[in-house]
Amino acid sequence: MISVQACLDGILLGILFALIAYGMALQWGVMNIINIAQGDLVILGGYIAYFMYLYGIHPAWGVIVAPVIMYFVGIVIYKLVINKVVDRDLFISILATFGISILFMQLMNFAFGADVVLANSDYGTTMLFNNNVVLPNSKIFSAFISILFAICLVIYMKKSKLGRAIRATAQNARAAKILGVDTEKVYAATFGINAALCGVAGALISITFTIHPYMGLPYTIRSFMIVIVAGLGNLPGVAMSGMGLGVFEEFADYILGTEFRIGSVFLLLVLILVYRRFKLSRKREYLK
């Protein structure tokens, strides 16, 4: 029963992380930008839901309001900063988004204060297997919403004109430009969509966990790891590696102790990277 519990906890946690990672993979793939401010966008989305909660609106509505607001926040960031670094070196974009991250942290601290806050959903708890496995409904809700948004996005990417333009730009920006795709617009939309996804995730995090202006970085790191493990442009991979990492984390926590939780995840990352290199080098030999 304990392993069922740890498994489910991990999967629910992983799905949420996978949503953030998906946004990161999208803009990484399309724009070749690693967004260090990813986590801070998540936290900002969380604050939107929190303020709705403060004004008596159920925070679950945040999953609709937060992405709309965050989409425009994303567009503004793109117009102000990102469009100047998008064709440059990866290092420059990391520096620029790192700067945005610090700016966001300080602004949020200034505007919302340094208190740890949360929004209560009062969703209750689901008991399974004769009360041996307990799942907070808020976690189930956030996993469900995450999956919903991910599916919508995949369909949108496949069917809509903008979605096709985004995919074309990701494959070859120059060719897409020649064929009449307004890549500038595509970049802006991609960044906006990523910010909107962060907004959804943030609203969910304010319902399931806690938010604080300085709590963004762990989410950036986690999504970065998921993308690294899954590879770019590999959506099922992102979902699988998100859940896999979540489950692995819970088990590591349970078996080795909480202090080894993060450490074991990083160890896994190193092993995966080494394994990848190993595979790559074998391929290279084969090509010779």
Partner: protein, 412 residues
């Protein structure tokens, strides 16, 4: 050319003005005793930094309006130079250096948090500047042999051992099983050491000893273990984030435990953010308004609470109360030393033995206050869902009876 000359003379005039104004800031000027403090007004500690500053300011106004400090037959008034340390230890150390060597401050008040106090203490020690601090409780501050550091609060290792004693008392003096979940930071680990001592002393047994990572706010795995092991006491310490996360997940996962003890409940505004879900949680606190300590300036806790609320628009957390107490200690020491000589003031501080509205204050060799026990309050809610913190231990100060064991979630 002419314009240049005018500009030059203007700038030099400014420089002269500026340098004299800096010089006039120094130490004891006219009828003013200038204290220096680096406080977190921005950054992650800014809420508690502001509580600290409000506590200091409240005491300065009160002491000044009630006759000030009498030294050598003359009356002096307190004044404080504040700098914002941005919640950054390095910055705090720089500012301490600046306060002492540029502004000429000869007496310091502490910053907020153990980490920042640790950064400042070596500086004040180097210059022999007495510092009374009110917000650094980490045990390691008091084992370094600092001579000029004095803390009005009880050290971190005493935060939760009262809870273990209480659980043992409720168990008819027999040892209990304890589950521990502590964040991996200096303060929480000090609290953990205190709990370990208490476990050893009472013949209890630890069954879970988890160290929570600083970054992730999820303790579901720990709580699964708690459900399985069914300990008598669950102790959690991880600042406000830890307290909020614990209550949220304990209530969501319906974890039944006879006693739940935590730190930072009032800073986390637990009863406000979680309402009835936080009911029955035991919280360690340095101070509570219902304690019956008294002094001449603030009278007692209830009066302090009312005055502070009137002035700042919110009820004082203990961080504010202990900060106010630091000024009372300084005043007392100056008057006993009857001098502004740093050495004499230091010796007078070391000999402090007084009562304030915040508690008794008497410093041990290491500078920690050994005369003020921690109190435990329990969150108690009425049927309408309004929650209040009531002191339940030590018995001497209790204003309500401890509810033990905590009713199970299915009965609530």
């Amino acid at each position: 050319m002419r314009l240049n000359k005018i500009l030059l003379s203007f700038i030099s005039a400014l420089v002269i003005l500026f340098s004299t104004s800096i010089a006039s800031f120094a130490k004891v000027v006219g009828d003013k005793i200038i204290l220096g403090a680096a406080i977190s007004l921005t950054g992650k500690y800014s809420s508690n930094g502001v509580h600290t500053q409000n506590g200091y300011n409240m005491a300065v106004d009160r002491i000044n309006s009630m006759g000030g400090v009498k030294v050598g037959g003359k009356t002096y008034k307190f004044d404080i130079i504040y700098y914002d340390d941005e919640s950054n230890p390095k910055r705090a150390a720089q500012l301490a250096e600046r306060l002492i060597s540029q502004d000429g401050v000869e007496f310091m008040l502490g910053p907020y948090s153990s980490g920042l106090t640790k950064a400042i203490a070596p500086v004040t020690e180097k210059y022999g500047v007495p510092m009374v601090e009110a917000n650094g409780a980490s045990r390691s501050l008091f084992t370094k042999g600092y001579k000029y550091l004095f803390a009005v609060l009880a050290p971190a290792n005493l935060y939760l051992d009262v809870a273990i004693d209480l659980a043992v008392e409720k168990n008819n003096g027999k040892g209990v099983t304890v589950a521990m979940a502590f964040e991996q930071d200096a303060f929480s680990q000090d609290v953990r050491l205190g709990v370990l001592d208490a476990i050893k002393r009472t013949g209890s047994k630890k069954v879970i000893d988890d160290k929570l990572p600083k970054e992730l706010n999820d303790m579901a795995a720990t709580l699964v273990k708690v459900k399985q092991m069914k300990p008598d006491v669950l102790v959690v310490s991880g600042h406000t984030k830890g307290a909020l996360t614990a209550i949220r997940q304990i209530s969501e996962m319906k974890v039944d435990v006879p006693m739940l003890a935590m730190t930072h409940c009032d800073a986390a505004k637990l009863s406000k953010q979680h309402g009835k879900n936080s009911q029955y949680a035991l919280c360690a606190s340095q101070w509570h308004k219902t304690l019956t300590y008294k002094d001449d300036f603030f009278k007692d806790g209830m009066t302090y609470d009312a005055d502070f609320t009137k002035e700042f628009g919110y009820a004082p957390p203990y961080q504010a109360a202990e900060s106010s107490a630091a000024l009372l200690v300084f005043k007392d020491a100056f008057e006993r030393a009857n001098s502004f000589d740093q050495k004499k003031v230091r010796d007078a501080l070391a000999a402090t033995n007084m009562q304030t509205f915040y508690g008794n204050i008497k410093f041990a060799e290491g500078g920690q206050n050994v005369d003020k026990p921690m109190v435990l309050f329990q969150v108690m809610c009425d049927d309408a869902g309004k929650c209040e913190n009531k002191v339940v231990a030590p018995t001497k100060w209790a204003s309500a009876k401890l509810i033990h064991p905590i009713p199970s979630w299915s009965e609530r």
